[in-house]
């Protein structure tokens, strides 16, 4: 029976070393024990460290170096990671060629950055050439945005955004502002691109209709067999305020054009009419915007001094809501403290503009 350890001053491994004659496995040895010290304390050739010598060729080397501890071995995940980087991952290190290179390649799924999620594909972006095309159509040829959108099959909001961004670019070029040109080149090479040529697939759906949550339920509406139950009736069935998709079309002029073509109007003429209609709708929209702005402006009385133009607006100070804290209430009211400095209140702006 081994002797009992009375006090905790002496580490149990040391005790074991003293008591046991038999050679120890290396794992039991204290890790930071210098070999030289171990040899001096136990000079006999049967000491465990020296016994290990023939098996471990590094032993001699370690004795001469500063640290005697074994170098940490790589764990299995680390090993696998290294081998991945050297073999399969090698192709992703530096981008070569012209076009995307995603992880999906390893499983023959191009344009799939996440191999486990097949519903997400990296879709093409507009190339710089395509952006210029759009900009020229809008700014130089003066085409209505709706017509540009229909011609290139690009969402109307994207058309507007492209024009906006190109204008900023041109302004920055004029101002000699710093731009990330090498970055832009590299990024363009890494992404799938669309040049908006007629031979390509349509870039994106341009007549998106938002799916209203009211229409996501299943309804059973009894209808007589003789009745024509149209989209309008279906919308009405879902709710009084639900609009049929005909009213939600982003470019309703396109539907009109198709109707004209069905009614025997020649293609060229129908397209011409489409252009006229879109231009007209754009003009009307601009007018209504102008009208709204003018009306808003008319409410303000202006006092022009030399330095400033004071714009004075009438407000009803009584309209403060039930609790006196209405959002657009004006001024400070007695007994209603501002809590805009209170802790935990959400103070991030909701719009910038």
């Amino acid at each position: 029976m081994p002797p009992r350890i009375r006090s905790s001053n002496c580490p149990p491994q040391q005790l074991l070393l003293n008591y046991l004659d038999a050679p120890l496995p290396s794992s039991l040895l204290p890790l930071h024990r210098p070999l030289a010290l171990a040899a001096s304390s136990n000079p006999s050739p049967s000491s465990p460290s020296c016994r290990l010598q023939p098996q471990n060729p590094q032993c001699q080397q370690q004795a001469s170096s500063f640290s005697t501890s074994q170098p940490r071995e790589m764990t299995k995940p680390q090993r696998e990671f290294r081998s991945f980087l050297k073999r399969m991952g090698k192709q992703f290190e530096t981008h070569e060629g012209n076009g995307p290179r995603y992880l999906g390649r390893l499983q023959r799924m191009d344009n799939t950055p996440f191999p486990s999620n097949k519903s997400f594909k990296s879709e093409p972006v507009l190339s710089s050439r395509a952006r210029r095309l759009i900009w020229e159509a809008v700014m130089l040829r003066g085409m209505p945005l709706k017509a540009v959108s229909a011609q290139y099959q690009v969402d109307i909001r994207r058309v507007a955004a492209v024009v906006r961004l190109m204008e900023i670019e041109k302004r920055m070029e004029k101002e000699n502002a710093p731009m990330a040109i090498p970055y832009a080149r590299a990024v363009e090479k890494m992404l799938p691109r669309a040049n908006l040529e007629s031979s390509e697939e349509p870039f994106e759906p341009i007549n998106d209709v938002h799916v209203h949550s009211f229409t996501m339920q299943q309804l059973f509406v009894p209808v007589s067999e003789s009745r024509e139950f149209t989209r309008k009736d279906a919308a009405k069935a879902f709710g009084d305020h639900i609009l049929p998709p005909d009213h939600k079309m982003r470019i309703p002029e396109l539907v009109e054009m198709e109707k004209d073509i069905l009614n025997g109007v020649p293609q060229m003429q129908a397209e011409k009419q489409f252009l006229e209609r879109t231009a007209e709708s754009e003009r009307r929209f601009a007018e209504s915007q102008k009208y709204v702005a003018a009306k808003k402006d008319a409410k303000k009385s202006k006092v022009d001094t030399e330095r400033f133009e004071f714009r004075i607006e009438n407000f009803n100070s009584e309209a403060v809501g039930k609790k006196g804290r209405a959002r657009n209430a004006v001024g400070w009211r007695y007994g209603v403290p501002f809590n805009d400095r209170q802790k935990g209140l959400y103070k991030i702006p909701t719009s910038v503009g």
Partner: protein, 462 residues
């Protein structure tokens, strides 16, 4: 609000969490991710695991409470309506017959003139096939956040870095500085990041070796934690017998370039007083070019012929630069005479700085017999232009000339709800992301099943 969550073993190989970064560890974890879920444990445990996995990717820097407040069970989707279909049908054909549309008879037999009778089937085209992946939209509200939008627009290499850019005031929204990473973008908002910051975030790291040493190492050796030496070894040690001659040739060219470089230095040192400022600048630029050519030649896989051509071109240029303007004129005259006599192909003199001359004296041990022809001069001009756009500039905090950081391309994609203009580092948030039949717009590495479990977790019916 302000305190950040601690990043503890962010890219742990053992746990294998996938994050919103372009890190190489992340690439490996993404590669290792299993696509199928094993149905272990109770439903609660499955939901818990799914939530943990998805939240490790989707805005792990956002506090759970904050995300719970942001979460919405309303999942947005859209359907394309084909105008041709809308014009032709009013929808009543879908309710015809017994209430679910008439049966479509299969296509009839081919008639006598060989045409197959085609029955027109009322169909709304323009949508992809398949079900709408609503469950992949679980984390859609996060994509509205400014920091995540900056990351998605490829302006930062991780969502956390994007957050830092916002906090540090490098991001503008509609032309105004916005310092809240949690700002929720509205459709039509334009955000712009400082281009310099973007170059730092997406460029290669500057290492002490890559910038200070006159002849930079090859790019592979630049990487940290890579067992280097392989690249150098291939150059120095034995090659397969068939490639030996190629390698020797390359080495010869490299030696030539080196000598040329030395020569350029000597010329500047020797004629400090004689040379004009512009002249000196030209020579200095040339020596930079030489260095670049050497660098290119060292890289594995470059064409030997290309290297040789580079050397010849540069040598020619060098020989011209050594001349004084008067001497140059003389030589130009000589050349003109030669041309008029021989009536050779007209050479364009598009570059007045580098007139095309015959090599007069070869400073390097080169054997240039071929003329510095049109195509080569064009190539060189292109190189010079590139140098202007993407210069070597040790004052920059990233490795110059700018190159994309390693493993960037595997993560480079732009979702459709953004319109990005990389040149000016600006993007427009067009609309909220939506699910479409067969497609989802939320970039998530997870399977539908896992997303669904996570969605169920946040419904708070546990």
């Amino acid at each position: 609000m302000r305190c950040e969550r601690r990043i503890l073993r962010y890219h742990s190989l053992k746990r294998g969490r996938v994050r919103q970064t372009w890190n190489k560890y992340n690439l490996y974890n993404l590669h290792k991710m299993r696509s199928t879920v094993s149905t272990f444990g109770t439903f609660f445990q499955q939901k818990w695991a799914a939530k943990a996995a998805t939240r490790a990717y989707h805005g792990e820097h956002i506090k759970e409470k904050q995300w719970e407040r942001m979460f919405s069970r309303r999942l947005l989707s859209a359907v394309n309506m084909d105008p041709a279909y809308m014009a032709k049908y009013d929808g009543s054909e879908q309710a015809a017959g017994r209430g679910s549309g008439r049966d479509v008879k299969p296509a009839g037999k081919p008639s006598r003139d060989g045409k197959v009778e085609v029955r027109e089937v009322a169909r709304n085209t323009g949508n992809a096939e398949g079900m709408t992946p609503y469950m992949q939209m679980t984390f859609a509200p996060q994509e509205r956040r400014l920091d995540i939008a900056v990351y998605r627009a490829l302006f930062a290499s991780s969502a956390r870095q994007a957050r830092q850019f916002v906090v540090h005031g490098a991001v503008k929204v509609n032309g105004k500085k916005m310092q809240h990473p949690g700002y929720l973008l509205n459709p039509g908002d334009l955000f712009q990041v400082d281009p310099e910051k973007v170059m730092i975030a997406t460029g290669r790291k500057k290492t002490s070796n890559s910038e200070s040493i006159s002849a930079p190492k090859e790019p592979a050796a630049e990487e940290e934690a890579e067992p280097s030496g392989e690249g150098e070894a291939t150059e120095a040690t034995g090659q397969p017998a068939e490639e030996l001659s190629h390698e020797q040739l390359k080495a010869e060219y490299l030696e030539g370039l080196r000598l040329l470089h030395q020569h350029a230095k000597k010329v500047i040192d020797a004629n400090k007083e004689k040379l004009s400022g512009g002249h000196k600048k030209e020579i200095r630029e040339l020596s930079k070019k030489i260095k670049e050519a050497m660098n290119k030649a060292r890289r594995a896989g470059t064409d030997v012929q290309e290297t040789g051509d580079d050397m010849q071109n540069l040598a020619t240029l060098m020989s011209q630069l050594e001349l004084t303007p008067a001497e140059r004129k003389e030589l130009a005259k000589e050349q003109e005479e030669a041309e008029t006599t021989s009536e050779s192909t007209p050479t364009s003199t598009t570059t007045p700085d580098y007139p095309q001359l015959k090599p007069r004296s070869m400073p390097a041990p080169t054997t240039t017999n071929s003329k510095f022809d049109n195509v080569e001069s064009q190539i060189l001009q292109r190189l010079l232009e590139e140098e202007k756009i993407n210069p070597y500039d040790p004052s920059k905090p990233y490795a110059t000339p700018w190159r994309p950081r390693p493993y960037m391309s595997a993560f480079a994609f732009i979702p459709r709800y953004l319109e990005v203009h990389p040149k000016i580092c600006a993007a427009v948030y067009l609309r909220h992301p939506v699910a479409r039949p067969g497609k989802s717009e939320i970039p998530t590495p997870f399977d539908t099943q896992i997303s669904q479990l996570a969605f169920n977790w946040y419904l708070r019916r546990r």
